[in-house]
């Protein structure tokens, strides 16, 4: 065989090179978009990665958590909330540190998140839920608490609440700082994905894979597929369309993203986050008018949510120079919720512009 190849002019070394290069290129294309968090330099980490690549996400997540286990290097003062101890699997130490911190500072939020993590590791969904509710009651946009709430709700079969928590966390643009968070969500996604097709919460899975896309671009296709199934099954279609829009945006397909946002708004004309994404797409296209209309709609759809005020101000005051409208909108927000500090701040800024000696905003 080798002689025959040589006679034709094909050296075995060339064939070997071609095979090796092809294999490496295939592997590179698959692994290129995988985040560093999924590479754990240990035998357990390699096993976890192999399970992950094999699509067994639940087992992979548990293997990753196992790979994280190890000695707690941080002292009590270096890890006062117990977050590090929880990350390396020492739940007893994590609980002790968190409770000590809470005794000293009863209003502290991070120790409560640690207690929720400990409860989750021990299978105590109700206790985890209680701790997270306490955190979210004082800080409704606490990212870590929102992600963990999504896990609790997802495990308890409350897919709708899990989606709400995920959407609220994802709009921050952060994936969470605690080491175990992505793996808890990966585990949930894996376990739900492993269920028989008829029992899968489609829209929640779409959201979970939208989150996991942050760590591995290959999940974008899964998020899109689940979202399309959710739309077809009428499982929270507005949220499913929003997931399609966000993933398409991340893939650089802005026209498709805009189209999906339109569908989301047709399904739920009061979906504030869908309006915000419409504004994001409008900004991407340089369409200030559409951006203004959409961000205003987002704000008006969620008057008591301070999250949209900053973006609204950037457009209304920053780009349009419309201090009158900004004043009126902020007064509207304060009428709905007197404790909206963000609205108060931007109302002051708008009034300052109107009261300035040279009244109109500075020309750009």
């Amino acid at each position: 065989m080798i002689d025959r190849l040589r006679r034709v002019g094909l050296h075995p070394s060339v064939i070997l090179a071609l095979v090796l290069m092809s294999l490496w290129m295939v592997a590179y294309r698959r692994l290129d978009g995988v985040a560093i968090e999924l590479y754990q330099p240990s035998v357990a980490g390699v096993r976890a990665f192999a399970l992950y690549l094999n699509g067994r996400y639940g087992d992979a997540a548990r293997a990753y958590r196992e790979a994280h286990r190890g000695p707690v290097w941080a002292s009590d003062t270096g890890d006062p909330t117990g977050a590090w101890a929880a990350a390396v699997g020492d739940t007893a130490l994590a609980e002790r540190r968190a409770r000590t911190a809470l005794e000293a500072f009863p209003t502290a939020l991070e120790p409560r998140v640690t207690l929720a993590e400990v409860a989750l590791d021990r299978g105590g969904l109700a206790e985890a839920s209680r701790e997270l509710s306490a955190v979210l009651a004082s800080h409704s946009d606490h990212i870590e608490a929102l992600y963990l709430s999504a896990v609790v709700h997802g495990r308890a079969g409350r897919a709708g609440q899990a989606i709400d928590a995920l959407n609220r966390a994802l709009r921050s643009g952060y994936a969470g700082a605690r080491r175990a968070t992505p793996f808890r969500l990966l585990e949930l996604a894996g376990d739900l994905h492993a269920r028989p097709a008829a029992e899968r919460p489609l829209c929640l899975l779409a959201h979970l894979f939208r989150y996991l896309r942050i760590f591995d671009g290959a999940h974008a296709a899964r998020a899109l597929a689940y979202a399309e199934l959710a739309v077809a099954a009428n499982d929270r279609p507005a949220d499913a369309w929003l997931t399609i829009a966000v993933v398409q945006d991340k893939l650089g397909r802005h026209e498709a993203a805009m189209q999906a946002v339109r569908h989301a708004l047709a399904a739920d004309p009061r979906h504030a986050e869908a309006y915000r994404w419409a504004a994001v797409e409008a900004r991407q296209r340089g369409d200030l008018l559409l951006q203004y209309r959409m961000i205003r709609k987002a704000f008006e759809s969620a008057l008591t949510d301070p999250y949209y005020v900053e973006d609204l101000s950037r457009v209304v005051l920053g780009r349009l120079g419309d201090a009158h409208t900004m004043t009126a909108l902020m007064e509207q927000a304060l009428a709905a919720d007197l404790n909206n500090a963000m609205a108060r701040k931007h109302l002051a800024a708008a009034r300052l512009v109107l009261g300035a000696p040279r009244s109109g905003p500075p020309a750009r």
Binding site: G9, V14, M21, A282, L288, L289, G321, R358, S359
Partner: protein
Amino acid sequence: MIEAARRRPAGARILGALAGFALAGWFGTMVYNFRVVGSAHAIGVVVGTVLMALWAVICVQRVMTATPPAWMRRLLEDGELVVGFVVLNLILMNVFSPFLMLLSQIWLGASLFPLVLGMAARLSGRVLFVTFVVATIALLWLSLTRLARHVAPASAALRRVQRAFRVVATSAVALYGIYATALSFNGSLDGPLAVEHRRELVAVTTVNTPLDFPVSWIDLRAADGTLERITLIAGKDGVWAGQAVVVRVRAGFFGIPWIESVALDEERRTELLVEAAPSAAEPRRALVALRLRQGRAADAVTHTRVYLGYYPRDIAFARTVAETLRGAGDAQSALELDRLALAAAAR
């Protein structure tokens, strides 16, 4: 092929193919930029792309079948024996590059070794991917050429087919060049006048080609309802979006109408912004500036009056508008604005 190679040195054959590729690319750019009205533009661009691809293939073929000098031939023969191991080494180096980088940083003593380690560690996956793509194409090509020679040895008929192919490829580039040059002169010798057509944007389609070069086209609707499709020129048509666009069409020196640009209808966009946010300062000011440029003094005065209604303290803006009008010889409108500014200041 062998006969032709005997007549002309390998370098000349490769340079000839490179020239063919460069000319196809250059003519393609001309056809792309001087966008004629109708589907001829899209067809022209496709033909240019096909010609470029054809000459790229010819170029690679000539490189692969060239007879290298004796010293290089020895090197290539040796290289062919070890290429598999070189690839294996490169892959291992890439896998261990983070450790090599660490080692190069902690290596004590000044020597060449840490420098070599550092260089090896910088062999990123992306660089290796590109290297492997090129090497795979080259090796596959070489293998297929050798296989083809083995299956179909050189014959008079094959040589005739090859010659005919060369003539067709060269003639195609020449004809395309004539067409591109005609379009180029048609556009560049054209008068400055352009006719502006206002259209409604119906749909935008963008296809990302494998070389990361997006190809976009838009579907526009005229006032009478007729639809037209226009391919967009990357970097020329500017940032366009929204509903209203302006298509600038020029007559062409040879009478071939061509589309100079497709741009957002700034005037319509500003008017819509003023409608949507009447108290917004920026769009109102932009509209006043636009009306001044258009010589529509009455409109400029009206909008400045509305602006002062919202922002009575910004008399500096009103005075600037008045100065502009005075400069344009419209003393009456300027005087009216001065009065408005005085009234606003007195409030």
